[in-house]
């Protein structure tokens, strides 16, 4: 039967970049109706696997075969497009200077000639309506004017949009990293419906709950290989984390209550106009639905405290960016230069940077934080996303600033790196640093000592101690909207 032929078949696919074996013999098939959850920590080869599956990279060895709609099979990027393989990439890949409808023109080559705009607008509107009912995104809006969440919604909708070759396999790489829970839920529903109609999806996410919700099969990748592949019910969450090679470190949780009391000082260290307060050594979480003013509150606070003379030498507050490409990394610089950025003035003597001291700081942080690189003078882009984020942590923590502001820093970071980062934050808090931590993941917020829930740009609840729980946060995020409906 036609539906039984796999849409994509990888046979012992290998991808080597010099000495690095990004893919080390991967064989997998994806059939219509399947939703494959692909998990693994950063650097496990997921992104390479995606690029090999969608035809963007030709494997150095092995084969990738696509089933074309006419029943034949083919290889190469053109066949991948004809077979209806679509990819939604992890980092946002829209053109911010174009409108939503113009962006659809980039993957869809048949949008040309008179009336192409109208066709593009119809396709993207239909797709947005289907995936995210009630989205309020108009096709004539310039993408640069959209919020991060809305851009991600547009990108996902482009993956499912009608085109010359209808979408048959959509690869979603961290599709919900900027979406809040309710919008992510629309996506889950759409993925399930799409697969029920005979489409296929590869779903890559670090949110295991989502993977368990949509996937029919889960493939675990480690070191460029698929190490485990079972139907969803064959796994438990803990089992998955173990399979990825990171062992859960539960004691950190237990330590929390005991240490918090002595760690946190008495006096209020900072107070903002919104009503955010934090004490010395406290980890303060900002929560609520994405895009309700948390990032803006952090940015306002950071800018008000970081302006003025002398900030570079004795910073009062440092910033850990979540949008790495926009706010974080210096893409042309080495790892070391990226780490030492905030400490340069402390490292310099008579206006010249002491290169040896800089190298010592870099080496110290490479060990402390576990940046996986052989050489700190490699370009920052040679690191995987999670390791780039570690560099940003190192950059901020290397400075003596007593307050650290974090704008959703764990976006698209693997579970193992997250665990390491959590421990590091706690250790730094015990040394007396204060953290302001905005996160879109409730699990992270629950690690904080005090949580402010934002709604419509205002604080709707302040939670401490045992009050910090998913139910309370959700209640504070949603209350008003339910009442209005």
């Amino acid at each position: 039967m036609a539906t039984e032929t796999p849409l994509v078949a990888l046979s012992d696919a290998r991808m080597h970049f010099g000495a690095v074996r990004a893919l080390d013999g991967v064989s997998l098939t994806i059939r219509p109706g399947e939703c494959v959850g692909l998990i693994g920590h950063n650097g496990a080869g997921k992104s390479t696997a995606v690029n090999v599956i969608n035809g963007g990279l030709a494997p150095t060895a092995g084969t990738v075969t696509y089933a074309l709609p006419d029943g034949s099979t083919g290889t190469g990027p053109a066949a991948a497009r004809a077979a209806g393989i679509r990819s939604v990439f992890q980092e946002l890949s829209l053109c911010p200077n174009l409108t939503v409808e113009e962006n659809l023109r980039i993957p869809q080559r048949d949008l040309t000639g008179p009336g192409w705009r109208r066709r593009a607008a119809r396709r993207i509107s239909n797709a947005l309506d289907a995936v995210f009912p009630g989205h309020r995104i108009r096709p004539k809006t310039t993408v640069g004017d959209l919020s991060l969440a809305e851009r991600q919604m547009v990108e996902i909708a482009m993956g499912f949009a009608e085109g010359a070759a209808p979408a048959r396999l959509v690869i979603l790489d961290e599709p919900t990293s900027s979406l809040d829970a309710s919008i992510a839920h629309h996506l889950m529903d759409h993925v399930k419906a799409f697969c029920a109609r005979g489409g296929a999806v590869i779903f890559i996410s670090h949110m295991l709950g989502e993977v368990f919700e949509v996937a029919t099969r889960i493939d675990v990748m480690k070191d460029g290989k698929i190490t485990d592949s079972r139907p969803r019910d064959g796994f438990t969450q803990q089992g998955l984390i173990d399979a990825m090679g990171h062992v859960a470190s539960a004691p950190a949780e237990a330590r929390r209550a005991a240490s918090a009391a002595e760690r946190i000082g008495e006096d209020v260290l900072l107070r903002t106009e919104e009503g955010l307060t934090a004490r010395r050594g406290e980890i303060v979480g900002l929560s609520g639905l994405a895009g309700h003013g948390q990032a803006e509150a952090l940015a306002r606070f950071f800018l008000s405290r970081s302006a003025g003379m002398g900030h570079a030498r004795r910073p009062e507050v440092v910033f850990v960016a979540g949008d790495r490409a926009r706010d974080g990394i210096m893409p042309l610089w080495s790892i070391l230069r990226n780490v030492s950025l905030t400490t340069l003035s402390a490292l310099s003597r008579r206006g010249l940077v002491d290169r040896d001291a800089e190298a010592r700081v870099g080496e110290d942080w490479r060990k402390r934080i576990g940046i996986r690189t052989g050489n700190m003078s490699n370009n920052i882009l040679s690191l995987s996303g999670g390791n780039q984020q570690k560099v940003l942590f190192a950059r901020s923590l290397a400075s003596p600033a007593p307050i650290v502001v974090m704008d959703d820093p764990m976006r698209g970071v693997d579970v193992g790196t997250k665990r390491e980062a959590y421990d590091m934050i706690r250790a730094e808090a015990e040394k007396g640093r204060t953290f302001l931590w905005y996160s879109t993941e409730t699990e992270e917020v629950c690690r904080c000592d005090r949580v402010f829930v934002f709604r419509n740009g205002r604080i709707s609840a302040e939670l401490t101690g045992d009050e910090i729980s998913e139910q309370h946060i959700l209640a504070a995020s949603f209350e008003m909207q339910e009442a209005a409906e």
Binding site: A78, L94, N97, L98, D145
Partner: protein, 312 residues
């Protein structure tokens, strides 16, 4: 600043400057006066559109001025004496521009360096063709540039036509959308299977085409050429693009704005003459006008962001 308001500032600056000129010299408010004011703006506007094509793909072209001079020299000699050969040379020049674009993309070279180098090549070729000022304009271009259409002077008609053509080409067609996408996010374009070499070559070829038009129309106005005739076009064209609401990076450009920006810069020259400012000071004063307009734009952008923050 969203695209809709992007065009507002250049329009207002042109209107303010025009009002100032009319106030100081009411006789300029006539068919003849307007033609005189804007006549030399047409080649500048064409050069500005050429520069815009390059800025659109996140590059900058430092060879526009010498390229236009080179084209002017070819027009006043070869295109006048042996039109077929002249036309072929100009076509080859456009192909040369496309090749530069392809080279910049294929070898990942910085455009600013390559075009700076090319400016010496074009300048040298211009001197070889026309060592001393001279030559003659082909009759057809002379006729075209000195035509007197009813009601509206030729300079205005040509500017409007240029703005419309450039707008449709870049902002409305699907090819234009892809070219702007290269400036916005080249990686995403490449990943969708487009050839970035071809696209960048295409943008440069368009720049070459408009540069050629600029040189030809310039000779149509001046009737003769000189190897240094358009050197200041390089900076004028960059200023025109930015004045017209364009940005150096991100593929954010406005063709209509670029034409208006070029007209504003040309008008600023006339305005300063009317103020009886010595030519020695004019370039500085032109710069001051540019800084003023850009400062206003920054203020607008800031208040726009503040409003967004309040509503957001």
């Amino acid at each position: 600043m969203s695209a809709r308001y992007r065009i507002l500032l250049p329009v207002v600056s042109l209107a303010v400057l025009l009002a100032a000129v009319f106030y100081m010299q009411p006789r300029a408010m006539s068919y003849f006066g307007l033609n005189l004011l804007f006549n030399l703006a047409v080649p500048i506007a064409l050069a500005t559109v050429a520069q815009m094509m390059i800025i659109m793909v996140n590059d900058i072209d430092l060879s526009v001025g010498t390229f236009v001079s080179f084209v002017a020299c070819v027009t006043a000699t070869f295109l006048h004496d042996t039109p077929l050969l002249g036309g072929l040379i100009l076509l080859a020049a456009i192909a040369g521009y496309a090749a530069i674009g392809a080279l910049i993309e294929a070898r990942q070279l910085p455009a600013i360096v390559v075009t700076l180098g090319m400016s010496f090549v074009w300048g040298g070729l211009a001197v070889l063709i026309l060592p001393s000022p001279g030559g003659a304009a082909p009759d057809w271009i002379r006729t075209l540039m000195t035509a007197k259409p009813p009601l509206v002077p030729m300079a205005i008609v040509a500017s409007v036509l240029l703005a419309v053509v450039a707008h449709v080409l870049i902002m409305r067609t699907s090819t234009g959308a892809i070219l702007r996408a290269v400036g916005g996010n080249a990686r995403a374009v490449g990943r969708s299977g487009w050839s970035l070499v071809q696209l960048r070559a295409g943008a440069y070829a368009l720049a070459g085409l408009f540069g050629v038009l600029s040189g030809v129309t310039l000779v149509g106005l001046t009737t003769s050429a000189d190897a240094n005739i358009a050197l200041r076009y390089t900076l004028l064209s960059i200023a025109g693009v930015i004045l017209g609401g364009g940005e150096f990076t991100g593929g954010r450009i406005s063709p209509v704005g670029a034409v208006i920006g070029a007209l504003t810069l040309a008008l600023a020259g006339s305005f300063l003459s009317f103020m009886r400012l010595s030519p020695d000071w004019q370039i500085g004063a032109q710069g001051a006008i540019l800084i003023l307009v850009l400062a206003v734009r920054l203020l607008f952008a800031r208040s726009g962001r503040r409003k967004e923050a309040q509503h957001g």
